[in-house]
């Protein structure tokens, strides 16, 4: 077992790794994370965003360690929590969440769990790595690996252990908000982490102990939740970042389904086998990019889209429709039937574009993207449980306790339909004219498709 080691980190200063944590750090498995970017191709928008899952993971270790110390977690459980922090992102594929989206889109319904919750495949992969991968054999005992896997999936004896690793105030969020802000060169995600830690406590409610904030922590919590909201709207959902992510996803999906590139099929069609896992872990951002830029793939969809990304020839946004602006019927039906209607809608846009542009656009390269930005109040809980404020007598949900948040309209949450395609415009005037026409076309097309009786007046969203 190695001795302790200190690494310098721009966010948390010196990060100390102890004993077996150093052994984990030195495995090829962990070193691979140096080659998996944290924010995919966000660097095409924010040039500084070159940080990786490696730096982030060390940051999560640092925060998780501080939380364990501050909350008085016993040494045995602290150790498991620290290992879990180090191992939690091992299952990320090339370009992080991009791979996650592709794996999920190409998965079979067999992966539906009995509980009704669909497993994310990269989380399944992470579990398999932790439990089975031989790289970890010299670093961690089987019992510790099982404990870490259990902590990451269902938790250990006390809820507080899981809250540190996965929950609305977890170490992961606490790190990525600060780190992504720093590397993107923005301050949207900055919050007072020291004050937050001062006010975190272990609260006792009806059923169990949980990570909460004291009443005096409400303001720093407001800052934390707002940081998450602003970073989402300004960085994660930045217009150009959405385009680069969607180009990556579409390029790889077409590579699998249309180009039938063997190595992409082997990488993205999940199989529950050691051979699959071993191959999966041999890929990272760099290898995938280098491979697809080889002349062999120049004429494939995947190769061509990766070439566009490499040379920053990005698709353009053709419209952005806030679903609040469409009739009820469309607002109800579109999200429900988006998956099965998407191809038809993309083909319709491609046909319409042909009328307004000299060169036709391949319908496979027209990307419709439906996404939502949760209201700032919903951001405080995300898909997890609400953050609780430890008030005398009874803990209360943060969003009900904060005067600022109770005064915020719940209706600030937004859902958008956007379209990206490889078009070029001769000038600003032509760009505006084409975008207006395509948007008006799509609004009418949606109304026709989802309610033949309803004919929309042409509405112009701000472009």
């Amino acid at each position: 077992m190695s001795q302790s080691r200190k690494l310098r980190d721009p966010i948390h200063g010196f990060i100390e790794l102890r004993g077996r944590e150093c052994d984990i750090l030195d495995t090829p498995l962990f070193q691979r994370l140096r080659r998996v970017s944290q924010l995919a191709m966000a660097r095409l928008v924010y040039p500084g965003a070159v940080h990786t899952r490696f730096d982030h993971t060390l940051g999560v270790l640092s925060v998780a360690g501080r939380l364990c110390d501050a909350l008085g977690v016993d040494p045995d459980h602290s150790l498991i929590i620290r290992y879990a922090a180090l191992l939690h992102d091992l299952g990320h594929g090339p370009f992080s969440h991009v791979s996650e989206t592709i794996l999920d889109s190409l998965s079979t319904p067999a992966l539906e769990r009995a509980a009704g919750k669909k497993d994310k495949i990269h989380e399944l992969i992470t579990q398999k790595i932790i439990l089975e991968h031989s790289d970890l054999n010299p670093a961690l005992a089987t019992k510790d690996r099982e404990e870490v896997a259990r902590l990451l999936s269902i938790g250990l004896d006390q809820r507080i252990h899981r809250d540190i690793i996965s929950g609305p105030l977890d170490a992961d969020k606490q790190d990525y908000l600060l780190r992504d802000s720093y590397f993107c060169g923005v301050t949207y995600g900055v919050y007072d982490i020291d004050q937050l830690h001062q006010t975190l406590c272990v609260g006792q409610d009806d059923d169990e102990t949980a990570l909460m904030v004291t009443a005096s922590g409400v303001h720093v919590l407001e800052q934390f939740v707002l940081a998450k909201y602003y970073l989402t709207t300004q960085v994660y959902r930045h217009k150009v970042r959405l385009i680069t992510d969607n180009m990556l996803v579409r390029g790889i999906q077409l590579g699998v389904l249309n180009d039938k590139i063997k190595f992409l099929q082997e990488l993205y069609c999940f199989k529950d086998s050691k051979k699959y896992l071993s191959n999966y872990l041999s890929w990272d951002d760099q290898r995938l990019t280098v491979e697809l830029l080889k002349p062999d793939y120049a004429k494939t969809y995947a190769g061509s889209i990766f070439r566009d990304l490499a040379e920053r020839r990005l698709f353009k946004q053709l419209f952005s429709i806030n679903l609040k602006a469409v009739p009820n019927q469309v607002r109800m039906a579109l999200p429900q039937q988006f998956a099965q209607s998407r191809k038809e809608l993309e083909q319709a846009v491609a046909s319409e574009l042909k009328k307004h542009q000299k060169s036709p656009v391949d319908a496979n390269c027209v990307i419709l993207h439906l996404y939502r930005i949760e209201s700032v109040r919903a951001q405080s809980r995300n898909s997890e449980a609400p953050i609780m404020v430890n008030k005398p007598g009874k803990p209360v949900p943060f969003e009900d306790e904060s005067s600022l948040f109770t005064s915020i309209e719940i209706g600030l949450s937004e859902e958008y339909l956007e379209c990206y395609a490889p078009v070029s415009f001769t000038d600003e005037k032509q760009k505006l004219a084409i975008k207006e026409k395509i948007q008006a076309f799509m609004l009418n097309f949606l109304a026709d498709k989802f309610d033949n009786q309803l004919k929309l007046p042409v509405q112009h969203e701000k472009l």
Binding site: K118, E208, Q336, S383, A385, V396, S413
Partner: protein, 190 residues
């Protein structure tokens, strides 16, 4: 399940009479709906219920309701009480009600997804027929169900009260008994 979870919530709201009073009641009714859809029809709406304060809680349901309110399909009316009631529940009472847009959304869903809509209706009917419990009693029933599930063996009311103490829950045996009767009617307890 073919439906988005938010559309299951919308159909459920309709099936429970078009409105539900209180976040807790909504969470717990959908908890049991989730159980019944799974048990009777093998359907999983993806609510992802987890143990939490006040019993089982679904962040997915909470966000779905926000979405439905945002999009004008559900109206949320909030009334402030300013204090906890004797059971320590809800300072603010939220009433969730289908709007006319929500009602036409429900009509569309019933037309496009008749089978799923019928199954949601049937599951809701079974829950309502088992007894119209208030949110406190329904919460106790949900907690009892959680205890039974975790114990994975038959327990009587006294046993459940004892098990509940391990979770620091203080519940009266009579209330647990009522909860168990409710669970038995639903076929969720032996």
């Amino acid at each position: 399940m073919n439906l988005l979870s938010r559309n299951v919530v919308l159909l459920a709201l309709d099936a429970f009479g078009g409105n539900i009073d209180g976040k807790t009641l909504l969470q717990k009714r959908l908890y049991f709906l989730n159980q019944m859809l799974g048990k009777r029809f093998g359907l999983h709406p993806g609510f992802g219920y987890d143990a939490h304060f006040y019993g089982p809680y679904s962040g997915v349901v909470a966000n779905d309701v926000t979405t439905l309110v945002t999009q004008g399909f559900v109206r949320e009316d909030v009334s402030l009480y300013g204090a906890f009631d004797a059971s320590g529940f809800e300072m603010r009472k939220c009433r969730y009600e289908l709007t006319p847009e929500g009602e036409s959304g429900v009509a569309w869903l019933k037309n496009e997804y008749p089978e799923e809509a019928k199954q949601v209706r049937k599951a809701a009917d079974v829950i309502l027929k088992a007894g119209v419990l208030n949110y406190v009693d329904l919460s106790i029933a949900a907690k009892a169900h959680l205890i039974l599930e975790r114990a994975n063996r038959p327990l009587n009311a006294r046993n459940v009260v004892e098990e509940a103490r391990k979770f620091s829950w203080v519940v009266e045996e009579q209330k647990i008994q009522n909860g168990l009767t409710f669970l038995k009617t639903l076929g969720l307890a032996a």
